[in-house]
């Protein structure tokens, strides 16, 4: 079971790149372009395209190459261009994001930066002298949750679910489609549409532009964009009364507290966390605690092998039972 991207490169990504690099990217053949998961730029080094767990360089004609001498190289000014364009020449508007090392742009693409951190009182104030940029491409794959959905529904309602995987395996893509399914309803699965509250701290799920989602989240989704998860979950419960609450990448102690409050309030919570497996997640502080307390009914474990979006297993957490496990040699579907 897997979902694969089959959409072309978002033209909005190319506007982030300096003209010379954008021109090379435009000349990449469509079948390669649709497989790109990341574009990596490092000062003084070749531009790399990542395809899940593998990568390749590009020559001036937009062809993949192994030869570093032929490859298109990036300069410091190219990285500054990307930073300036991604931050809309307004560092103050992305203070918190820059502190965390990335900015999310229109389309939900995440632009990560590495360089010299400016630290004040043990807190990263900003990043200067940027040396590396990673453009992680977000893709809207409608229907990608279709095969997972039957495992997450009981008695016509969604179960509390956590999606687990290392970065780049498709957590956000799956979460986005689950929001759409929950909000629109799915007659095939006998799931009625419900009010969905989405706390999109990193603006990746809804990819809001001016507060309006730029992806299809169905007709009943209320999005709190750029708001810290813990605060946002409580705000949405009080203000919008959602039946399903969705948020991304749990990790901080206050996130665990907010999830506990939401579940105790009778709201279905669908979320994600970084881990390789359920066992890994149980070992994590705070998040591991709420799993042990039985707050979640289902865990969906994703992998990037053989392709990003591969569903490795689906676990009924309370029963400790594996409902689905991908056979290593099994064929892909979905």
């Amino acid at each position: 079971m897997a979902f694969q991207a089959s959409v072309s490169l978002d033209p909005r990504v190319l506007t982030l790149l300096p003209q010379a690099l954008a021109r090379v990217m435009r000349s990449i053949s469509p079948d390669i372009a649709q497989k790109i998961t990341e574009i990596r730029l490092r000062a003084g080094h070749p531009l790399f395209l990542a395809f899940g767990s593998s990568d390749a360089m590009l020559d001036k004609e937009g062809r993949l190459t192994e030869d570093g001498k032929e490859a298109v190289h990036c300069g410091v000014e190219d990285l500054m261009w990307v930073f300036q364009t991604a931050s809309k020449s307004s560092v103050y508007a992305f203070e918190e994001e820059i502190r965390q090392g990335f900015i999310t742009v229109e389309g939900g693409h995440r632009i990560g930066f590495a360089g010299q951190a400016v630290v004040l009182n043990d807190r990263v104030e900003t990043i200067k002298n940027i040396g590396s940029v990673n453009i992680r491409l977000a893709r809207e794959i409608k229907g990608c949750s279709e095969n997972v959905l039957p495992f997450l529904i009981q008695g016509g309602r969604l179960l509390n679910t956590i999606i687990i995987s290392p970065p780049g395996c498709g957590k956000t893509t799956l979460l986005r489609d689950l929001v759409r399914q929950a909000s629109s309803g799915n007659s095939k699965q006998k799931l009625a549409g419900a009010t969905v509250g989405l706390v999109d701290e990193r603006s990746e799920i809804a990819a809001c532009a001016g507060g309006i989602p730029t992806v299809d989240l169905g007709p009943r989704a209320d999005v709190l964009d750029g708001c810290p998860k813990a605060v946002g979950m409580i705000m949405l419960i009080r203000a919008m009364g959602p039946r399903v609450l969705v948020t991304d990448e749990l990790g901080r102690p206050e996130d665990a507290v907010a999830v506990r409050d939401a579940v105790n309030a009778g709201v279905c919570v669908i979320t994600s966390a970084h881990a390789h497996s359920v066992e890994d997640l149980l070992g994590r502080p705070h998040i591991g605690d709420i799993i042990r307390q039985g707050l979640f009914d289902r865990a969906v474990v994703l992998s990037s092998e053989p392709v990003p979006g591969t569903v490795k297993e689906i676990v009924a957490l309370r029963q400790g039972k594996v409902l689905f496990r991908r056979k290593p040699e099994g064929c892909l579907c979905g």
Binding site: S87, S89, S90, V91, Y92
Partner: protein, 172 residues
């Protein structure tokens, strides 16, 4: 006789118009500086309160307002929204396009250039400091410009009328 009279009236009218035109320019400068201070105060609110990115903030401040200063902010915001333009380049291009309408002299133009050199490059706290400094500097410049206006507008008007009369007397 009638021709001379008509000619004299024309000369006096033209000279007076030139005098009043020069006086209007002296009046326009403090008005535009005041307008500029208002726009920067608005920008401060957009940056501090809603953390709106510059292209959007500049466009929103200018919307619904008239005059060359508002137009300059609007154009700067639009240029900045395009890929690759930085704040200084966008401001310079907007000013160049409005050179005839803008009555800003060197002192206020320098304040504006210094501000736009740091605008968008630091956090909110620092942006606020820079905007406050620019607004204070503009207040001082406005006072000087207002004093100049008082001094020069009357002189220009008198010179216009009197200059016309002097030409007529010399020619007759």
């Amino acid at each position: 006789m009638w021709v001379k009279l008509a000619g004299s009236i024309l000369v006096i009218a033209a000279s007076t118009a030139i005098g009043f035109r020069l006086a209007a320019e002296f009046e326009e400068r403090p008005r535009q500086i005041r307008h500029l201070q208002g726009m920067l105060t608005g920008l401060k609110a957009f940056i501090n309160f809603s953390a709106r990115p510059l292209p959007e903030a500049l466009r929103q401040i200018a919307s619904g307002r008239k005059g060359p200063v508002a137009e300059m902010f609007l154009r700067t915001g639009e240029l900045l929204g395009r890929s690759g333009e930085n704040t200084e380049q966008a401001l310079a291009a907007a000013r160049m396009g409005l050179a005839k309408q803008l009555a800003l002299a060197r002192p206020e133009a320098e304040v504006l250039e210094q501000l736009f050199a740091v605008l968008g490059k630091t956090n909110r706290r620092e942006q606020e400091k820079c905007l406050d400094l620019a607004i204070n500097q503009l207040q001082e410049i406005e006072q000087e410009a207002a004093a100049e206006r008082e001094k020069h507008t009357k002189v220009c008007r008198y010179l216009g009328v009197c200059g016309g009369l002097a030409i007529v007397i010399v020619l007759i």
